[in-house]
Symmetry: none
Subunit: 320 residues, 2 copies
């Protein structure tokens, strides 16, 4: 077996430089030129170091005041969907930035609400990736992260496996992964994969989780599930024809939140949807107006405790 090397090394491995530069720039308010003198590196390099620092979450931005309108929406959402908590952030001006903003809020929420000993079952998605990226790196004792999804056969930057690893690393958790592809080629293979002892073991651990963190996917064309090519365009069309409004944990669901009857749903290697009820606290992290339909579906069929979303989606969900 080959050892898979991860090539995605940081461009500036010197964490000291990043921390110093970020401190001077953001906290101290110095100009990049001045910092370049202090650190003795080129002015442009300082800029690139700062970019890297932001990228990697070495600097974090915390916005304290809540937006009044969002607070109102939060209350309505709690009421309407029986949530124990809701977080609504302002919508991104640019649609494609929604995951960034929601992820930021999710990171803040998780940083405050994950406790020692927690077992976290983890889904997959762009929003979750951003959330994990912005999580502060602070070990939390005896935590466990369990992936609820199989991996990708070709390594990709956005990958259930990678996400779980990163999350676990940030909080110093033990990490369990499903060592199977997220979609098997054929239903029988799925059954064979899922009956593996090692797989069953991980699913069992997920079932014992006290927190699940997951998001939903829509059919919009920048959705990773559509782009990575493990679902064929023709299948996507079939799924939509069968009434699917999007996916949760890579299961495609209809407007009522029930899995649609399609071969793709019989090929998915993931934690079973109906078993989500075994997990006491489910955190749904998703937003953007294009996800309203699938979020509504998910909320209809899954007992969500905490919803982290944006204004657009909140308004859409409450809309009718």
């Amino acid at each position: 077996m080959t050892i898979v090397e991860n090539e995605r090394a940081s461009r500036f491995p010197d964490a000291e430089l990043k921390a110093r530069a970020a401190w001077h720039y953001y906290v101290e308010g110095l100009t990049q030129e001045r910092i370049s003198e202090i650190l003795g590196v080129g002015r442009i390099k300082v800029h690139r170091i700062l970019s890297a620092a932001r990228e990697e979450g070495v600097v974090q931005f915390r916005i304290r005041d809540s937006v009044v309108e969002c607070v109102v929406l939060e209350e309505s959402l709690k009421q309407r969907f029986g949530l124990s908590q809701a977080v609504v952030v302002p919508s991104a001006a640019d649609r494609s930035n929604a995951p960034l903003m929601i992820g930021h809020a999710a990171a803040a929420y998780l940083a405050d609400h994950v406790n020692a000993g927690d077992v976290i079952a983890l889904g997959w998605g762009r929003t979750l990736k951003f959330a994990i990226n912005e999580l502060p790196r602070r070990p939390i004792a005896r935590t466990t992260v369990v992936s609820m999804l199989g991996g990708l056969t070709h390594a990709q930057p956005l990958n259930p496996t990678e996400s779980a690893w990163d999350f676990a690393e940030k909080i110093g958790a033990e990490c369990f992964l499903l060592p199977v592809p997220v979609y098997a080629d054929r239903p029988e293979q799925r059954d064979a994969f899922m009956s593996q002892r090692s797989v069953q073991d991980v699913v069992f651990r997920a079932r014992r989780a006290n927190i699940a963190v997951l998001s939903v996917g829509s059919f919009s064309n920048d959705s990773p599930i559509a782009n990575y090519g493990f679902i064929k365009p023709s299948e996507l069309e079939e799924l939509q024809a069968a009434g699917a409004v999007g996916d949760i944990l890579c299961h495609f669901i209809d407007a009522e939140g029930r899995p649609v009857d399609h071969e793709v749903n019989r090929r998915v290697c993931a934690y079973p949807l109906q078993d989500l009820s075994d997990i006491p606290s489910i955190i749904l992290v998703s937003g953007g107006s294009e996800k309203v339909a699938v979020m509504r579906a998910a909320l209809a069929n899954i007992k969500v405790s905490v919803l982290i979303t944006d204004e657009d989606a909140a308004k859409g969900l409450l809309g009718r």
Copy 2:
């Protein structure tokens, strides 16, 4: 009567605008001009709102400063485990880069601390491979490298034999290898192998080494010892059931650092653990949060002089 001025009266009482602007600017990364369009105010006003938001602490910047901590950790480790030296590097942003970063530090350490005439007993692991890789190719007179482990039956990129050879080549050392497989098929074969004159000769040379460089392995699923397949998954489970937390020189040890009673440990062809006490300076090179348990075990039972590790592991080791 004096009128008390509220000197901190905000120029922009509209907290809503401040919060929204801050989200768009810092989290979403929009330009001030773009924000001015969205919020329907002038560009300059956006700038002033953002200034006010910073001034008043509505936005806060947090920088994860790991470097300062590292020095503190080094001191604590020396104290706690009676080391003569400790090196702690910032943890890799990406979990899988931990060996790279620690290896880098180890290479720097070795380059400075290997002297003419030294005899180096060498273990095996991914971290060590990276260390050897980054060693400068500079001959050091009359040095000797002795492998403490047998070889792999099928040639692999990550291989005790190869590692020793590369190390020796880099510093122009004489190189001695154990001409036996790292795991014999059966205990009796191990005994037969190890009693070979040629093997005894190499073990004897290792015992006379003045430096040992080694790392530990954990049960995590990217561990080479798990992946190369010379230990069956069923055996790995048995070992864990028997209390093993990981391996050192391919001997599986329990939380107290003692070899567990299992057939696998009677099949290993390697330098005997208890004879490590004959080597005056032992350098342990390992890190990553998943290795904390086995590192603690190793430190409990082996007189380590120098520990080269990362922040995660250092914190974990000092944790309780």
